[in-house]
Amino acid sequence: MPENVTIKIKNELSELPGLIEQAHEFLSSSNVSSKALYALDLALEEMISNTIKYGYDDQDEHLITVNLNLDDTQIILTLIDDGHDFNPMNLHAPNLQEDISHRAVGGVGIYLTRELVDKMEHSREEGKNSLDIYINLL
């Protein structure tokens, strides 16, 4: 049976632990593999922290809408923000071959998420990014 929850958070990193706790609570009675749960946590953290850090020109408070939709086979996570137009699918993969001294500090969060989830779709409507992230349960 499909289930659904919507959570709104402010554009602050300190909102993340509470959000992840709510997401786990929502999924607690379902048969979700630890791999799927990891992919969900990573998608939430990497995508939202990226929006918080780079999505806005001002210092104002913004709301990010997080929707979780669960059916028998998958979780669909939808993130909606009013930041810059940004499609994470267009980002180049980082250079993963460089050694320690040359390796850039960071730049792997979005790449990791893209690799761990099953599908991502971005759209831009009415000045807002909408990102659908699909994660298979098993």
Binding site: S14, P17, S101, R103, V105, G106, V108, Y111, L112
Partner: protein, 112 residues
């Protein structure tokens, strides 16, 4: 997240428990800095009880590796759970670090 520290035969063994994410990375960074500011040059990081690491956590470990390399020391990791191992492999971090299955092998490498 919790970090515990032990020292044996000149090797500092650091165990990270729980989740190393964008929020806990700040505290982890401080704990690692304490060790790196000291004179010890062999650092073992045991990840047996690490359930989750994100790019922010990987960034902390990368900084540790860079600083240890600069001071001519050695750092090695051991005992990753499968989900964490996959993140290291996808991100290319498994080729940056020496990674062992057991703490004993890891310590032997550092003392070798």
């Amino acid at each position: 997240m919790e970090i515990t520290l032990q020292e044996q035969d000149g090797v500092v063994a650091l165990a990270i428990n729980g989740r190393l994410d964008a929020v806990s990375a700040v505290d982890a960074d401080k704990e690692f800095s304490k060790v790196l500011d000291g004179d010890k040059d062999k650092l073992l990081i045991n990840l047996r009880a690490l359930d989750y690491i994100s790019s922010a956590g990987l960034r902390v470990l990368l900084v540790v590796a860079k600083r240890m390399q600069q001071k001519g020391g050695k750092v090695a990791l051991c005992c990753m759970v499968d989900n964490v191992k996959e993140v290291f492999e996808i991100s290319g971090f498994s080729s940056i670090f020496k990674i062992f299955d057991s703490q004993e092998e890891c310590a032997a490498f550092l003392n070798g």
